[in-house]
């Protein structure tokens, strides 16, 4: 039965995540501080004709930011395991390789969702009380948000694992991670709406629009703020992101890691 070994692998990665519970709590606090200090200040700086309420606009974006950072952590751990050859132990375990790979990718994705949960709850409160019509997503909308955020988390976990096993040296891994962070965050609608990017840097519009983080943030905004409107391409984009990077990560973990 494949479920049991996968869950055992997930359990291990969960334990490591919560072993640093104070660090995790600190990070969540920092994210909340970003929201309640930075976003509140920015609200006063940003032209209200462009973004009506930056605080409310930023909350779903921050949720994605936190989700991405937490899901990406699994890659750092796997990179360390490869460098210290702890991966030899993992590869020698009496379970199937695909179960091992699935467990690692799934653990990364679930860790992202769990880390993001308090921020999503805060975002729900902010968008409810911060919008004129007191918008709250319906059950199906909320489920769609959760599923898509989980897919973003899975894809990110896969992306980080693929990077981790392909760049054995820690310096290269950190550099690659930095490049990915910058590309995905700054060429996205996490911090600013697509209209602004179209005006300021039109050459980045395509990348920003189809960036899975943009789709994740905008899909949440679609159900939490009713703006931008929901578009099916967001779901397709995120599903593709998850599918591609989960596949790449599993391939990399099963093949590249085994010299």
């Amino acid at each position: 039965m494949a479920v049991k070994p996968i869950l055992t692998i997930v359990e291990r990665d969960f334990k490591y995540f919560f072993r640093y519970k104070w660090w995790v709590a600190g990070m969540v606090s920092m994210n909340l501080a970003d929201l309640f200090i930075m976003a509140v200040v920015y609200r006063e700086m940003v032209n209200r004709n462009v973004i009506k309420d930056y605080f409310v606009f930023f909350a779903p974006g921050l949720t994605i930011t936190a989700l991405f950072a937490a899901a990406f952590m699994i890659g750092r751990e796997i990179n360390m395991e490869v460098r210290r050859e702890i991966s030899h132990y993992m590869l020698s375990l009496p379970i199937k390789r695909w179960e091992l790979a699935t467990g690692r990718v799934l653990a990364g994705g679930l860790r992202g969702i769990i880390y993001m949960a308090p921020l999503l709850a805060t975002t729900l409160g902010i968008t409810y009380f911060g919008t004129e019509g007191k918008i709250f997503p319906g059950p199906l909308e909320f489920l769609t948000i959760l599923v898509t955020l989980f897919l973003v988390s899975l894809g990110t976990s896969g992306l980080s694992i693929a990077l981790a096993v392909s760049t054995i040296s820690f310096e290269k891994y950190i550099t690659a991670r930095g490049v990915v962070y910058y590309l995905l965050f700054f060429c996205s609608t996490v911090f600013y709406p697509i209209g602004l990017i179209e005006r300021a840097l039109p050459q980045l519009t395509l990348l920003a629009r189809y960036n899975p983080l943009s789709c994740g943030a905008d899909l949440s905004r679609a159900f939490l703020l009713r703006n931008p409107p929901f578009a099916p391409y967001m779901l397709i984009d995120i599903a593709l992101y998850a599918l591609i990077f989960v596949s790449v990560a599993m391939f990399a973990y099963m093949k590249v890691i085994q010299k």
């Binding site: 070994p5 055992t8 692998i9 359990e11 291990r12 334990k15 490591y16 072993r19 395991e81 210290r84 050859e85 702890i86 030899h88 132990y89 590869l91 020698s92 375990l93 009496p94 379970i95 199937k96 390789r97 085994q258 010299k259």
Partner: protein, 318 residues
């Protein structure tokens, strides 16, 4: 009965370097096979290929009836490995490491509890079971690593230098536990560069050097097979010249002379009681003063030296 491990032309290359070179070896079910060789002999690489952690460049190995290159998932169900360097995350405690390992190996909660407690007590880790291995000495970490396999009790237990960094009392305890593991039905493949360990534990010893298998047999047969079954170790007051060494070899019944150091010679010969007076006479004639003479039985080091012309120590330095 078919061997439980069959290694066929197993080869591993890292770039231009051949770590394991067309290795052929069979291991019978229930035996302890020691793989003896200096660091860099290819022992660990061989074991990693058997556990499907790394892929062979050429050849293959069969674990039970499973080909490691074609059915690695099935092959791994029969194998458990204790690594040379403990593969532990330093934030873990022995309790967590062993419980998780037992779980992933499919032990029931009841078995898990019993075996983890038993092994922690046996290896004197019970009192430290909740401490992070970060605070442990090298020997303690090594004990945690070996504990994994003692809990798992796999069909084939692969142990890589199981007692490196472990104190003498700990070594004997681990050896006894490995023997017990064998009596419970496991076949044990033991890689070591410690001669005494290989001699004391193994039913058969395979000697490897530079990726190649030199010889494989029972320790006693290996020792008996050396021409010049007696060994005389002579320490001289000053270094022996090459001329002295050459002439020493000419003495009848001297099979070989090995200079461990230039003033410490190991002479392999037959009928030592007759030849020894001739040797002392030879040194007197050559005006070389002898500090000490010691006769001994050949060891596995002598077997290694016979096949390579080097002691294990020298091979290690190479």
């Amino acid at each position: 009965m078919a061997p439980i491990i069959r290694i066929v032309n197993l080869t591993k290359k890292f770039g231009d370097f051949t770590a394991v070179d067309h290795l052929n070896l069979e291991v019978e079910e229930g035996e302890i096979l020691g793989i003896l060789g200096p660091n860099g002999a290819g022992k660990t690489t061989t074991l990693l290929m058997l556990t499907t952690v790394i892929k062979p460049t050429e050849g293959t190995a069969y674990i039970g009836s499973y080909d490691v290159t074609k059915e690695p998932d099935k092959a791994r169900t029969l194998v458990g490995m204790a690594f040379q360097e403990p593969k532990l995350l330093w934030v873990d405690s022995p309790w967590d490491i062993l419980n998780w390992h037992a779980k992933v190996c499919g032990l029931t909660p009841d078995e898990r509890r019993k075996r983890v407690r038993w092994v922690l007590e046996e290896l004197e880790l019970w009192n430290d079971r909740f401490k992070s291995v970060h605070a442990f000495s090298g020997g303690m970490r090594k004990r945690v690593e070996i504990a994994k396999i003692l809990i798992q009790r796999p069909k084939i237990a692969i142990v890589d230098e199981p007692t490196a960094q472990v104190d003498v009392v700990g070594k004997h305890r681990i050896w006894n536990m490995l023997r017990d593991l064998r009596y419970e039905g496991s076949t044990i493949l033991l890689a070591t560069n410690e001669l005494y360990e290989a001699d004391a534990l193994s039913d058969r010893v395979a000697i490897m050097h530079k990726g190649k298998l030199l010889v494989c047999d029972e320790p006693k047969k290996l020792k008996d097979s050396i021409p010049g079954g007696d060994v005389v170790e002579i320490t001289l007051e000053k270094d022996a010249s090459d001329k002295v060494l050459e002439e020493l070899k000419e003495i009848p019944r001297v099979a070989n002379v090995l200079a461990i150091k230039q003033n410490h010679l190991k002479i392999y010969l037959n009928q030592a009681e007759e030849v020894l007076p001739k040797i002392t006479e030879f040194f007197m004639r050559m005006n070389v003063q002898v500090r000490s003479i010691r006769m001994s039985e050949p060891s596995l080091d002598d077997v290694f030296a016979h096949y390579t012309g080097l002691t294990i120590e020298e091979a290690q330095r190479e």
